[in-house]
């Protein structure tokens, strides 16, 4: 089946290419276009060749200007064959676009993606060669609106096409007009969760290219930026696209103002998506970010990954908008649970914690509790996580010299019957960590992974004042690859020949397993 299919599709695409060429070469084969459009109905799964064909055809037509109708006002409609033909072509064009948009909803993922690309390419072609004669910059917003209408589906998740759409949002005009169109589309009373997802994702992608913050930047910089700016529908000989960050921000704000009226927090997925969007993209753009405080605070209470995400937003608010948040550190403290290892956002959490705890005005007991808790967690984490946590602890020790008593007590060390630190205490300041020591780090000194052992050694040597290092968190499989890349002078091997599977000494597998009987 699979072997046959590619051949078939190859054949079809070759055929289609021929047809398209014929059509483009002479008007004799005008019917080919109709045929091609007809074929959309026959196909059910893979529209890719068809979409490619219509893309080729109409891009070419637009370039040639065949689609331009010369309508003279106050004159009866021209019925010359030429005009008729043009009109017919225009109809076909509209039909093709409708087809392409339909294809975005149907069929295989690859063909859906292709449909989106085709629609965008056509939009680009039309922007470059508008259907009506214009002098200035032209952007076919209507087409974009149609595309967005498809993307903002209420029933099906459009994440794949939207992800693909990102390659177009790099263009500044697309971004600006996209935000404008989206703001116009946004208002809706009670959207479905999927719609919200799609909306948020689309907004996210539209904001992927950073919008410059200060409006009145230096003139030179702006010029350079304009020269380097990527514009989708730019054509030579026409004025440049007037990119206006302020407008962009206004529309982004409007989009969000609609979105935040929706019940975003009801479903965790949407909630997370919204938080991510807010934290990563929107925060700097918002006019009144403190309006998001409520949402962030609610999210922070939600627990789990959601609160980790909200933490970043809260940090932003605290740092730049003078928001005072009660029990901030206790909440942060509560996030350090073994469950954090399973979440995707653990690296973000560690990074944020590093920032949070970089303040030198924090009470020692609180920071000590954090250090203690992190080292406890490092005891159970995977090597990568342990390494990150240990780095964090090292930074704490460096930034807060008072914590040094946790690794090297100056007074004569007292012998205690148990660890004074109370792991269960929810308030960091009351966990009595200052009386304790970082025995966990010493235990990690004997960790099996050389990298972790080295990190633990670094913590213990934190008395030497290196500047605190930024957390370099690795990918999970990096450790394995790094280990393979290490060069060794010699390859040590065992020196006692085993007679069987069992080791001459220290056999454990067969101690617990009865494998050979």
């Amino acid at each position: 089946m699979a072997a046959v299919q590619p051949n078939l599709s190859k054949m079809i695409s070759a055929q289609l290419r021929n047809k398209a060429n014929e059509f483009l070469n002479s008007r004799k084969h005008a019917n080919n276009l109709a045929d091609i459009l007809q074929m959309f109905e026959a196909e059910t799964e893979n529209y890719t060749p068809l979409l490619l064909t219509i893309e080729v055809i109409f891009t070419e037509l637009l370039k040639r200007g065949d689609l331009i109708q010369h309508i003279v006002p106050l004159k009866p409609i021209d019925h010359s064959p030429e005009a008729e033909y043009t009109r017919w072509l225009c109809e076909c064009y509209e039909a093709a676009i409708v087809r392409a948009l339909e294809c975005m909803r149907r069929g295989k993922t690859s063909s859906r993606l292709q449909a989106l690309v085709t629609a965008c390419k056509l939009l680009q072609a039309e922007g470059k060669h508008p259907l009506e004669q214009t002098t200035g910059y032209f952007f076919p917003s209507v087409r974009l609106k149609n595309i967005f209408l498809v993307l903002l589906d209420s029933e099906t998740s459009m994440s794949a096409p939207i992800t693909r759409f990102q390659e177009f949002t790099e263009y500044r005009d697309m971004q600006q007009h996209g935000l404008k169109v989206l703001a116009a589309l946004a208002f809706r009373k009670s959207p479905s969760p999927i719609y919200m997802q799609n909306f948020l994702e689309l907004l996210d992608k539209l904001l992927a290219a950073k919008i410059p913050l200060d409006n009145k930047g230096k003139g030179k910089d702006r010029d350079i930026e304009e020269n380097e700016m990527k514009v989708l529908c730019a054509s030579e000989g026409k004025p440049n696209f007037p990119y206006n960050p302020a407008v962009c921000r206004r529309f982004a704000n409007r989009c969000w103002s609609f979105a935040c009226q929706w019940p975003l927090c009801e479903e965790p997925r949407t909630h997370r998506r919204a938080l991510l969007l807010l934290v990563e993209r929107l925060m700097p753009l918002l006019n009144r970010p403190h309006l998001a405080t409520d949402m962030l605070c609610d999210s922070l209470d939600a627990g789990g990954p959601i609160s980790m995400l909200a933490l970043q937003g809260v940090l932003e608010l605290v740092r730049h908008h003078n928001i005072d948040y009660p029990d901030m550190y206790d909440r942060l403290y509560a996030m350090f649970e073994p469950e954090m290892f399973a979440t995707r956002y653990k690296k973000r959490l560690m990074h944020l914690t590093d920032i949070f705890l970089s303040s030198t005005h924090l009470p020692e007991s609180l920071v000590a509790a954090f250090a203690k808790r992190m080292s406890r967690l490092a005891l159970v984490g995977s090597p990568e996580d342990s390494k990150g946590l240990l780095q964090l602890v090292a930074n704490l020790l460096l930034r807060h010299p008072a914590l040094k008593r946790m690794i090297c007590c100056e007074d004569t060390p007292a012998i205690m019957s148990n660890d004074p630190y109370v792991m269960e205490e929810s308030s960091a300041a009351r966990a009595r960590a200052l009386g304790s020591s970082l025995w966990e780090v010493r235990a990690l000194r004997g960790h099996w992974a050389p990298a972790v052992a080295a990190a633990a050694a670094r913590v213990l040597a934190a008395a030497e004042r290196d500047p605190p290092q930024s957390l370099a968190l690795e990918e999970d499989s990096a450790l394995f690859d790094a280990e393979l890349k290490k060069r060794f002078k010699t390859i040590e091997v065992n020196f006692i020949r085993p007679q069987t599977m069992a080791l001459p000494s220290g056999e454990r597998l067969l101690q617990y397993w009865e494998l050979t009987a």
């Binding site: 060390p413 050389p450 040590e492 494998l515």
Partner: protein
Amino acid sequence: MAKVKNKRNAGLADRVHNKKKAEANKKKLNPFEVHINKEKLKVLGKKSKHDRGLPGVARAKAIQKRKETLGTEMKLINKTNTFIDRRIGEKNNQISAEDRMIARFAAERVKQHSKKSIYNLADDEILTHRGQTLEQIEKFDDPKSSDDEDEDKQFGGLDNDFVSEGHFGGGVLSKAESKDGAKSHKDLIEQLIAESKKRKAEKQKEKEQTLDLTEKLDSEWKDLQPVVFKKQKVQEESLIDKLLSKAEKGQDYDRMMRELRFEKRGTPSDGLKSKEKQDEEERKKIEELERQRELRMISEEDVTAPKNAKTPKHRSADDLDDNFELEDEKEFMLAYDKDGKPLVPEHVLKDYSVPNSKKIFEDGVSDTSEEEGEEESDEDDIKAEKDENTDEKSEVNKSEDSDEETSDESESEQETEKRNEKVTTKKSIKNLNESTGLKRKHSSNSDEDAASRIDSNKKSTVNSYIEKESLHTSESKIIKLNSSNDDKNMSDDDDDDEDEDEESSDDSKDGSDDDTNLNNLNDLKGTDESDEFDDIEDSDEKIGSFFELKSVEGDKLKELLTGKTPSQHTIALQKLIKSYDPGLSVNNKELLSRLFAHLLQYTHDVFSNISEEGEIIKSFLIFDRLVPFFYDLIHINKVSTKKFLVELLKEKYDAYKRNTKKVPDLNTLIFFKLVSSLYPTSDFRHPVVTPSLIFMSDILTLARFTDAYSVSRGFFIVSLILEYTVLSKRYVPAAVNFLRGVIFLCANTCVLNPVQVVPPFRLHKSAKILILERDCSKMTAERKMAAKDLAATEIDDSLKIRCLLTAMLMLKEFFDNYIEIEALEAIFEPHIQLLRRVDLDLYPKKVSKKISEVLTYMKQTLEVKTYTQMSREKVKPKALRLYEPDIQDVFTGSKSSKLSKENADRARLQGKYKKEMKGALREIRRDKAYIASVKIRQKIQSDNVRKDKVKQIYKDASIQQGELNKLKRMK
């Protein structure tokens, strides 16, 4: 008193008087004699000797000196004799005449007593004559020579009377007496001559006689000699005779013997060691290696840390050894420009600022795809499906392109391969035809290959596959198709397996073949060795041609080993390795490392696709036999075998990473065991062991343990981790967490009172698959996990019991390993809490007893554990450094201090020489002047004398003349 005082006063007066006298005696400096040398530059603190001089005095001294030296010499000039006065004290005019006499007398006496003992004459002297002691000479070597002297001593041997008469006779008185004898002088002389002649003749005769006698004695002695030493001589002669005769008899034998005798008899070496000695050496060697292993256990950082402490270049003499460093960095003042930006160098600012707050995380903004992976499994399904769809589609797109490429590649590959094959086809086909049916299949397969090569390129993808597998073309085709189509069924376990196998090893088919074989052979385990040898014999030729064709080595190995009992494996491999011993040929080392790779592949195959208990046991039995050979092979070529093993691990790891939730099967896990038996697992860092530990830890942290399959394999891994860390006692959180999770799965936890667990186990989501629901206290429990647990598909009660028991035993072992760690409680407290919730009553008595034993042990140990705050070791205060004085060369005053030492010395010496030369020249000049002055004085003196004499003569002459004139006048 008064007297005393008086005395003192008198003394004082004397002293004053003496002093005055002395001052008077002291030469008064005549101010006119003093000459003051003018000083051009005054140098402070410099002592000058030459600031003033007494030229007159100095000149007089010099002249006096010359008079004593040069003057006397001049006096003696042209005189051959010298008069040396050796009288004692004669020249020393400080000694008085009396003293002189006494000294002379004393010397005389000493001279008399210089002999040590007058009565003991020459007793200790060894007299020598011409270097020989007299004793040596007294051996009478030459008796002839000694006679002459004593005879000829006096007056040519004439007797005393004759001499006294003849020589000193005469005289009137005696003559008168002797007249009676009436012998004339002439007669006397004649008598004398005759007498002496007669004596001479007598002497001659006597001499000859003695000579004759000695000669006679000698000859007689010679005759006697053989009689005296007869015995020895005879023997010697006979030996020699024998040799000679023998030499004549057998020349060749003799030559051979001599050759043998002079041939090199092998280098001397250590004597053969006794068994005990060998054992002893072996033991020592192993001890040494053990010691090295223990060294390697410590991290390099620890070892090198003291060495790395770098010493500052310069240390001041005031350095207190407190590592205080003068900071060169300038302090900066924090200032801001008008925009409010700090005016501080950037790196400084960076050091003091908070970490970069805006950081890009790639953890889920863009891809919604896997986001939910971890958190919500219910949502997972829809989502994952979609993703897979998208993935798949893009994949298909790609594969369309890539297929074409690969087909091209494989074509070319094939072509080259074919060329190779052509060369060896005849041989290989012969080989193949001879042997088993399997081989025949192979050959037909290769024929097919040849055919396919000719007909089309379309098949090429399939063909490339054939090449790899070289078995079952059609079937592999099917698999290929399956693999491309069945992506949707990824979640399905069976398909998954197949996929994995194909990707990792491309031998799944063989694996299944093995399966059937193994099934048949299950019973063969205990068969006799005798028929095994028969089997082996026919495999000999296979061994002979094992490495002939590179591409089929793997298959050959498989042929060699499949369908044999484990002990036959041993024999076959032994033979194979022996026949390719690296000592025999240079290539063998490489060949054997290739064999290692094939053995790895074989092991993989043996452990692939086994699902029954019997198969598992069988596989382990085979593996059991293979391990020693793996050991041998890595010792032959450490580098390449390590490379093979690491590549294999990498491949497996990548395969695992594709689906981290699924625990890899035994065909992966078995290699961890292999690693532990080949490499030292205790090293701090090891090229093979560390990656495999990472792999295992990753499995335990990422995989999901939700069924019998995964849990049993989890236990397998944990026991291996125990084995890895048994010596180093390193801390492995993943294993401890796994045990925690397992106990959690066994325990009753309610939502209200949760006990923390660590991922991959999750508090409210992991199904309690190991919890015991009915009372099993009557059941008998097995002690160990068994092979059947690896094959189990459902979790029955006995498995649950065994899991908990094993978990407890392992936990105890971990606990014991980490007992030194202070944070022990933090590590094991959750386990204890969880164990409290396990309903022990349901478990068999023995098991519950064992568990509670371990539990109480752990509790007690933790209770006893004390905590001491971490502190540094107190460092001893360092003593102040004492520095050696810096001794430098003395400043010699030479300007050219830049010169090298030799040159400087040379220059200094030259300067000195010049100075001396100058001084000497001046002295000579003055000597000359002195000599001249002496000479002129002599000349003047002699002139004066002459003048006086002339005057005298004139005077005499004038007187004479006057008298003559007077006489004339008188006339």
